[in-house]
């Protein structure tokens, strides 16, 4: 089983992001599960969402405490939320950030794979959300596909086509762009 934890802020699309990833795994024939850690949600408040993938039926329904990978939709969160809490050694961190990628190498250390993508710039370029509140979820799922190799970009694009209600083409283009541009630091 692979367990992926999403960290974002209310309004960024972390919950939908976890669902798009689950749908992408599903399109590749995997058993999947996605659910949010429901807090009292407000725009801007920290949000956590979970995605599980396995080759057999998933009975586990508790939250993810020891993720294989984490996805961070807002780089500023790492100052206030321990996004790598419980992350397994060798796991990947896929983070949406615009500043110097080396900063995150230093911040997270050598125990994890660190992948940086300016998903906000990609989202804005594809008219997803606004400049002050870009919707980065589909872009960062595209980056996740490249970073971890756990799922193909075709399955991600198919999941967006089937399951994202609005701006399907723009979301697909954003996912593809992030897939192409994500860098390992």
């Amino acid at each position: 089983m692979q367990e992926i934890r999403f960290h974002g802020r209310g309004g960024q699309g972390a919950v939908i992001g976890s669902e798009v990833l689950a749908h992408a795994f599903f399109h590749e024939g995997k058993f999947v599960q996605a659910f949010p850690a429901f807090g009292v949600e407000r725009r801007g408040a920290p949000v956590t969402a979970f995605c599980r993938m396995d080759d057999r039926n998933i009975y586990l329904r508790s939250q993810i405490y020891h993720p294989d990978h984490v996805v961070v939709l807002d780089a500023l969160m790492i100052e206030s939320v321990n996004v790598v809490d419980g992350l397994k050694p060798g796991g990947s961190i896929v983070i949406n950030a615009s500043r110097d990628p080396e900063y995150y190498r230093d911040f997270f250390g050598d125990a994890f794979g660190v992948f940086v993508i300016d998903a906000a710039a990609i989202a804005v370029a594809h008219h997803l959300g606004s400049a002050s509140n870009p919707i980065v979820n589909t872009a960062i799922v595209g980056a996740f596909a490249k970073a971890t190799g756990l799922v193909g970009i075709d399955a991600v694009l198919k999941a967006i086509e089937a399951d994202v209600p609005m701006k399907k083409t723009q979301n697909q283009q954003a996912a593809q762009a992030a897939y192409d541009q994500v860098i390992k630091v």
Binding site: E19, A22, H23, F26, F31, V32, Q33, A34, F35, P36, F38, I58, Y59, L60, R61, S62, Q63, Y65
Partner: protein
């Protein structure tokens, strides 16, 4: 067709496939997305149901009483405080013998606000006459709705499908959505034995004096008991059409088990991992999943639990002044049986607190090592 959908939407699809005539509901988290989806299905023309928007849950059920009396197949959904506001009319629905089906997304109710999982809301309706079925997966929810209509319309009693807030309601997982024509063969259109009809006038909702009220109540009790006989037949028909089966109680590795764990809802799913792990370590543990809780399948419970040396019940609910509701009712059911192992009770997961496999294993371990009194619940994970 297999799709990855949320538990609440699995219920919506079950209602769509049941060709329901009238839906009436008032939104409340975490139920809301069931009826949102149904409303959109109505707007897209996928269901020909009349969707009635109301100002309260009490009115939602009251309007369904009217619709069901007029002969319609009906549906509503609620949660927590909303379900409690329906309480009066829930009694009425069962007493009027109306086969209404509802989904209750189990949500905590208390003097402080909480929107997360707890079974106390539906268990507070256990004396209303509604048949209650607890589910652990999204597939079981969709299938449960289809079976609920079949059962309700055979015994003429309402059926409540209950399941955990968020852990099931908002979780996306794979569900096999059956084709409408197969469902149509399993679930024929509702043909009410009596209904509001100008050409065949009858009296509904009458006043029963002391001469007859008691007898009326007894007929409701008989209908409920009859559900225990009818359900296995519904289950067989369902299995013949869809290749899936859900018994009154579901057992796993109980035949030779020293300790049998009893759970309901999402905790059952998590417990399967623990039972598998402990079995691989040579521990003789088994699992009994509570599905139907009203009427109580007493004979099933006695048969499954009678051979165990101890029974451990996890209750995600609290009857204040008693403890866990399921534990209390299982003790009561076993009391008159020849074999009645001690029933240990653990309270866990109230207000949506996570119950992990480590929690379930910890509960089983504590019951073995600490040798607690069966009279005192173990308040697992309580911060003191």
């Amino acid at each position: 067709m297999k799709k990855a959908i949320k538990g609440n939407h699995a219920v919506s699809h079950g209602v769509r496939l049941s060709r329901v005539g009238v839906i009436s509901a008032y939104p409340i988290t975490p139920q809301t997305t069931i009826v949102e989806e149904l409303s959109e299905m109505c707007a897209r023309g996928e269901i020909s149901a009349r969707f009635i928007k109301v100002e309260s849950e009490h009115s939602a059920m009251a309007s369904l009483i009217g619709a069901a009396t007029a002969g319609a197949r009906t549906f509503t959904a609620s949660s927590g405080n909303g379900l409690l506001l329906m309480h009066e009319v829930l009694h009425w629905t069962a007493g009027a013998r109306l086969p209404i089906v509802m989904a209750d997304v189990n949500r905590a109710v208390s003097g402080v606000w909480n929107i997360w999982a707890e079974q106390t809301d539906s268990l507070a309706q256990r004396d209303t006459g509604w048949i209650q079925i607890y589910c652990e997966s999204s597939q079981e929810l969709l299938d449960g709705v289809l079976m609920a209509y079949r059962l309700a319309e055979k015994v003429m009693l309402p059926v409540m499908i209950a399941y955990d807030a968020f852990f099931l309601s908002h979780t996306t997982e794979i569900v096999d959505i059956p084709d409408a024509d197969v469902v149509d063969r399993f679930l024929p259109p509702y043909e009410p034995p009596v209904q509001l009809n100008f050409d065949d006038p009858r009296m509904f909702g009458g006043f029963f004096s002391t001469d007859y009220f008691y007898e009326h109540r007894y007929t409701v009790q008989q209908a409920s008991q009859e559900a225990l006989n009818v359900y296995p037949e519904v289950c067989r028909e369902f299995n013949a059409h869809f290749g899936r089966s859900y018994d009154l109680v579901e057992t796993w590795l109980t035949d030779d088990a020293d300790t049998i764990l009893v759970t309901a809802g999402a905790i059952t799913s998590v417990s399967r991992i623990v039972i598998e792990r402990l079995r691989s370590q040579g521990e003789k543990v088994g699992l009994m999943k509570l599905r139907m809780f009203r009427p109580i399948p007493v004979e099933c419970w006695r048969k499954v639990l009678g051979n165990a040396s101890r029974v451990v019940v996890i209750d995600r609910n609290l009857s204040v002044g008693v403890g866990g509701v399921f534990a209390a009712e299982i003790r009561s059911a076993l009391y008159a049986s020849d074999r009645h192992p001690p029933v240990y009770s653990a309270i866990a997961g109230l207000g949506g607190r996570d119950v992990t496999p480590e929690d379930v294993e910890g509960i089983l371990h504590s019951m073995k090592v600490d040798d607690p009194s069966p009279d005192i619940p173990l308040y697992w994970g309580l911060k003191r």
